[in-house]
Subunit: 616 residues, 2 copies
């Protein structure tokens, strides 16, 4: 076997695979973080990759177990079991990645015909003279309208402020960027027209720099949301603003500054200028949407939880302090309700659920989990207060997805197999690891259906009057305190998983859709991407459906923002989606308390005639 060159996408890392090196070993040597819980034994199935081109070794029995024959045909393989036979190009899907930067920027790529809201027109003007001393702006509009049959009558004040100077420096040849009836930017002949799509999450901000002419992503990057210093979750930020209204504009500024920094990085990466960005789309949950625009949030937090605005908003970048082309507009997709925001609309847009003839559940798991059910051409949505447990909050050793977090976990007898982010010594446990732990503890009967920690495992101990399960012992940590899952943690997780499942159940009941009719469950968002779906089904957080009906969509909200950025049709579709949604407030749904209690038990179940029936 000779050395082959392997191209890992989308991270863009490329290098030689040495003799007898598996794709996983090669990836690790090259610094591409591919997940591997079982340590390369082919049993955990966490190192899935897709071979796009090139020849590789034949599938092993482990791989035949991990994939359907169709998936194998599509090139899906376990990196630990596969050896290249020629130069290869691979895709490492988000769920197989274990990178330091655990900010989700990848997602479903949906191809659309570019049809952006702005268009650039090439202009060639004569220099003025004493016999034709007409004003610069007047002549530009005249040339633009006559040569391109437009009816453009407005010029942004920021454009007007540089027009005379710029068009002279460009010797009267340039591009005029028009949006509706307004000139929003002037660019030199050689410039591209770029767009910025932003998924403004409570914790993380993902940004995409897009070429508006062809819709291609030039650069993508994620950063932390600096508003975290004013509260980790939405409710604490809203409470802060209600008590000290000046904080509202402070939070607005923090978000905008983070986006400005992100935008500058994206431009540097793509070798572009910020003035080439002539349109932006921002999505976020309703509270983030409001805080970004500087809207009041008090009414969001008080029943009946009313947004200041739901319909799509277009606002000048300059009015927000956003450093892109100063005449550019920022488009915010519509919100659905106080706790179902534009990010959920974007997710529905990206996952193309609207024409669904078959029942589809789409959910974005976070501190608030937004769920939509598309059934019979109707969309019902709700918001579940799932809390911060799956983001590591309120969990004794919980932490965010960062270096040293346990992100995958299996219990084999009294051995705990785990994987940490970056392979660093364990310092805590993040959402996907917590979910695995709960599932494994339930499967190994360390906890019962009610969530009670039993005595039947050597790792169970009582510490400060509370039962807990030791994941990583003191001795394994060189004397540091053991990393444990406590009885209290399990109660928190039960509440979280019950919130999500009862949200799904409520929508199914309200729509008269039987659970087993669901043909597809789309799980979006960073947490949803990294979780082991089987674990989530095992504990009853997600309905008991064949695993192939679940789809982990990556940052679908970000993808939706990109679609709305490059396509007016998609933008209109978002408005249709938002206006067609029937929002269901869980607090007001009949029998919700019962549904919630049913959902709080561990294990797979379904509801038949209003009763919980276990599934073995």
């Amino acid at each position: 076997m000779t050395a082959c060159t392997i191209d890992f996408e989308p991270v863009g890392r490329r290098g030689e695979c040495q003799n007898n090196e598996s794709l996983l070993a090669c990836a690790r040597r090259l610094g591409v973080g591919i997940s591997s819980v079982c340590g390369g034994k082919g049993t955990c199935h966490s190192c899935k990759v897709q071979v796009l081109s090139g020849t590789v070794s034949k599938p092993t029995p482990n791989e035949r177990e991990a994939f359907t024959s169709q998936e194998l045909k599509e090139g899906w393989r376990l990196a630990c079991q596969t050896y290249p036979l020629s130069d290869c190009k691979l895709t490492v899907p988000p769920e197989s990645m274990t990178t330091t930067q655990r900010i989700q920027v990848e997602g479903l790529e949906v191809k659309v015909h570019p049809e952006p809201p702005v268009r650039a027109y090439r202009i060639q003007m004569e220099a003025p003279s004493l016999s034709a001393p007409d004003a610069d702006a007047d002549r530009l509009l005249q040339v633009l309208n006559q040569q391109h049959q437009l009816n453009c009558g407005k010029i942004d004040i920021n454009v007007l402020r540089v027009l005379s100077t710029q068009i002279r420096s460009w010797n009267w040849e340039f591009q005029a960027v028009v949006r509706n009836d307004e000139v929003i930017a002037l660019l030199p002949q050689s410039s591209h027209q770029l767009g910025l799509a932003i998924d403004l999450g409570t914790t993380k901000i993902a940004g995409y720099l897009i070429n508006l002419s062809d819709g291609l992503t030039l650069a993508a990057k994620g950063v932390m949301n600096p508003q975290i210093s004013h509260g980790e979750d939405i409710i604490s930020r809203i409470t802060g603003v209600v008590h000290s209204p000046d904080d509202g504009m402070l939070l607005q500024k923090l978000a905008v500054e983070a986006i400005n920094g992100l935008c500058a990085d994206l431009c540097a990466e793509a070798n572009a200028g910020i003035e080439e960005i002539v349109e932006a789309v921002v999505v976020g949950n309703t509270a983030m949407h409001h805080l970004f625009l500087g809207l009041p949030v008090k009414q969001l937090a008080l029943s009946p939880f009313v947004p200041a605005v739901s319909r799509a908003v277009d606002v000048k970048a300059g009015d927000l302090g956003l450093h892109i082309s100063p005449g550019a507009y920022v488009h915010l997709l519509p919100n659905i309700a106080g706790f179902v925001g534009a990010d959920h609309v974007a997710m529905l847009l990206a996952t193309e659920v609207l024409p669904a003839k078959i029942p589809v559940v789409a959910l974005d798991i976070g501190t608030n989990t937004e769920v939509s059910l598309i059934h019979d051409g109707k969309i019902t949505s709700t918001s579940c207060a799932s809390g911060p447990a799956f983001e590591g909050g309120h969990i004794k050793y919980g932490m965010r997805a960062a270096t040293g977090a346990i992100e995958r976990l299996r219990i084999v007898d009294d051995i705990i197999q785990y994987q940490t982010i970056d392979g660093a010594p364990p310092i805590g446990i993040c959402g996907s690891g917590i979910l695995d732990a709960l599932s494994q503890l339930y499967l190994t009967k360390v906890i019962d259906e009610g969530g009670r920690i039993t005595d039947n495992h050597p790792r169970v101990r009582t510490y400060k009057g509370q039962r807990e399960f030791v994941l990583v012992g003191k001795e394994e940590r060189g004397g540091k305190p053991a990393i444990t899952i406590t009885q209290h943690d399990i109660r928190e997780l039960q509440l979280a998983k019950a919130a999500i499942r009862s949200g799904i159940q409520t929508l199914l009941e309200a729509s008269g859709c039987p659970e087993d009719k669901i043909k597809q469950v789309i799980i979006a968002g960073a947490f949803g991407t990294y979780i082991d779906v089987a674990s989530a089904v095992t504990i009853g957080m997600l309905p008991s459906l064949p695993l192939n009906r679940f789809q982990q969509a990556g940052n679908a909200a970000g993808m939706g923002a990109k679609l709305a950025l490059i396509s007016l049709t998609k933008r209109a579709e978002a408005q249709v989606v938002a206006s067609r949604v029937k929002y269901i407030e869980l607090a007001g749904a009949p029998g919700f308390d019962q549904t919630f209690i049913q959902a709080s038990y561990l294990g797979q179940y379904r509801i038949i005639d209003g009763k919980r029936e276990e599934i073995d």
Copy 2:
């Protein structure tokens, strides 16, 4: 004769007239500054007033000389010659005023049907509920559009930022102010909708607070333009900005801050809130227009003197830093050319010249003098570089119209009769005084037609090698240097008056309109209001026409701004006026040098077959 109550308008002073007190004496006692050069002898005709109601003494021979019988019928009288016989209401026209605050805010009042660009709608909304938790803004638009048959889809971002809080504080009952398809302001039920009209002059800024519902002026005030510290005339300000571009935004800020202060004063006077101001109109010459908007001015100063923009501009108050309702728009009337700006358009609008069937000349005298000729349904305009002489610049003892300036002057033998502003001891001479002086010196043959100071007057002396005429001697000033008019001053004034007259002549020639066909000459602006028209005709600055064809229009630009503020029809008319104007650049006009030389001689003349013919 019993004591009568006299009401002096528009200053609004009211008081008792004592026995045997003339209207002039009464005015003086009450502090109403009425001009009087001859000291109450009835000979100077500078104390004209119009009696609107009440009975007064019969006209004296002096008054029969001063007025036509038609004018007498209309109530025109000399205040020094008239005694009240009952309670009276008087108008003191701008040209008869001699107030400290020599900033022209009065002008022709043209009544128009109010038809403002903004309209307030009364809104009554239901509070939201869990079963109807629609967003505040969405519901507002729904209510607005359904109840009032509008198609309003936008809400200003500043309005959006306060909407949820405000409408709750107003208990869901309020007014929504709409402009085109946009909600630009929210107001409580009891608020008025006000407008702000601004005449932004190079030297002075005049502001008017208007009730948009009825078009009435609630308050009017003038302030100095603080940009003066960066150059007294436009050219020096432009030059400053060209050399140091940051000064552009500094000048922008200075103008805006002055207007903000003016606006706060107007609101205080009218007991109104700045948030009630929901529309503004600003007019100024092209350079002031550009500096106010923050537009580049370099190209204005270089041939072919091209404005950045001529067409009307609508810009958000917030984008300019103007403190009125933050979502309000500022409308700037169109410019005509680099040196004929929106203020001239406003003046043409206010003087209603457009449908003129008879030839009309309209001019606004200043450092630049804009002239328009309306003839045969066509408008030709030009700009004359008349320089600062008539504003006191480049004149040895020249000064602005402020306390102590000689503003009226007659030479009777070797006695100089003069009047100063506020009756203070003379410290210099302002524009109208300078014009009188030139005319008087010419009439008394102290200077000849060529402008040369002759020897034939005891007040002529040679001082530091230059001939000069002593207006106020050293001994009259308690030992301070004599106030004089020098040979150099006269040369400056000749250039200024030649510039104005040759501009008029060029338009007449270009339009094929004989001078004596001019039926009306409208003189606008502060200087134009205070001058003695007879003096201006005497020296040949204005054409030799019967004096009753001249009309001093006061601050017509400010009036035009008011009209455009309250009437969309007038706004459209302004655009028509601006677009119908044919601008004539004097530098390119055939035979202009000859025309200018002809105009530089003193004395009345007309041009016949291209030759100057004196009029005795």
